[in-house]
Structure formats: structure tokens, C-alpha cells
Amino acid sequence: MSIFGSNEKKVEEKTTFNFDIDKENINQSNLAKDIKIHGSIEAKDYIDFAGHITGTIKSSTIYLKPDSYVKGTITGDTITIEGEVDGDIQAKDLHIKSTAKIKGNIRYTNIDIQNGSIINADLFYSS
């Protein structure tokens, strides 16, 4: 019975996973321009953020759109910044685009910065 039970769970997981792929990409959250958050956002896969947040964002992939504003800390594997950040950023792959404005501390393994971005920050490299 126990073996049967575990099989059943696996099937459930697979079906929900497929459902996500069919609808959108893997667990993607989109937060639009007019959203203002005081607190924290945490996700497993992907956050697409265009609003304002005072607090923290945590996800494996984070994409901050041009009009976004983050005051606080951002933690993720791959972070792309096109908006304004005032606080700490921690990423394995950090992409700073031309529209980005960053103030604070940046901890990274790989970084690339586009022409036009405004950065006033302390950079810490960690392999």
C-alpha cells in the first residue's frame, strides 16, 4: 500500500507541473506597475516585477522592469535590473541594463553592466 501511495503522489506532481508549462512558463509571477508592496516576495522560479516594493524579493530568476523601484534586499540566482534599486543585491548572474539606477551593495559572481546605467554601490565579488 505504501508503494502505491508514493506512486500516486508522483503522478500528482507531474500533472500539476505539466499544467503550469501548458499555461505559462514555469511558475511565473507578474507584478504590474501599479502594485505597491511593503513586505517580502518569495518565489521558486521567476518573478517579473514592475511595481514598487519596500522590503525583500527572493527568487531564482528576478526581472525588474524599467519603472520598478525596490528599496531593500534582492536575492536570486539570475537577476536582471532595468529599474531603480536602493539596497542590497545578491546574485550569481547579475545583468544591469542601461535604464538601471542602483544604490547600495552588490554581491555577485558574474556581472555585466550596460552603458547608461547609474551605479553608486560597493561591489563584492564571490566565486
Binding site: 544591469i96 539606477k101 558574474n110 556581472i111 555585466d112 553592466i113 550596460q114 552603458n115 547608461g116 546605467s117 547609474i118 551605479i119 553608486n120 554601490a121 560597493d122 561591489l123 563584492f124 565579488y125
Partner: protein, 155 residues
Amino acid sequence: MNYEEHKTGNQDMESVQEYGDNDSKTVNVGAGVRIEGRIDGAEVSDISGTLSGTINSSNINLNSSGIFNGDMSGSDITISGNVEGDINSDQYLIVNQSANIKGTIEYSSLQVSYGAKIQGTIRHKGSVHSYTPNIEPIEKEDETENHENDHEEDV
């Protein structure tokens, strides 16, 4: 005697001018060469060796084999090698993939390629204006334009 002196003097001047024209304000530090000290007033500096000290040049190119320790200032700077110290760029600062920088960077326009290592502080010049780009700078520009117009009218 006077004629000869005049002639030799001219020759000297010509040779100096020729030398100046050919190598005008360029500095080349070849790979394996070490220099310590201060370079000032150069236009193009190409560094593949080791340079310790201060460099002031409008164009600076630190190649991947180049090592620099000290203060660097210029308008267009490209870094592909190792830097320990301060970089001050008035215009374009390009940091290539092979670069390894420890220190303080002051820039107007910065481009960093994926894979470059930077440890230290980055400061954008004139960021007071650019942090509030929506309202304030436009008003200030208008004011300066008006002042300029006033001056022209007075003259």
C-alpha cells in the same frame, strides 16, 4: 659662423618637430616592461606591461597582460587587465571580460562585460542630477538657457 649656427639650430628644431609629430603624446608600455612613476599629459596610453604610480591620459588602454597599481584618470578608458587602485573616467569606461579591478571607480558611462571581476566602490559622476531625472534637470536647463540668452542680449 652665424650662418652655420643658424643652420644647425634649424636642423635641431626640425628633428625635434619630426620626433614630436611622429610620437605625439603617446605612451606605450610593452608586455614585460615595468614602469614606476607618473605619466602626465599623454593622449593615448597603451599598457601591456606593469605600471605603478599615476597616469593621466585622455585615452588609456590597459591590455589583458597589463597590470596597473595606483591612480588612473582619463576620459576614454578600456580595461582588460589587472587594476589595483582608483580609476577616474570622464567619458567612457569599458571593462572587458578579462579585467580584474580592485579599488574605486568613478565614471560617467560604464560598460562591463560578463565575466569581469570588480571589487570595490563604483560612483557615478553627477548622479545628483541623474537620480531625479523627471523634473529637476529640465527646470535647471531652462534656467541656464535663459541666463545665456540674457547675456547675449546685454552684449
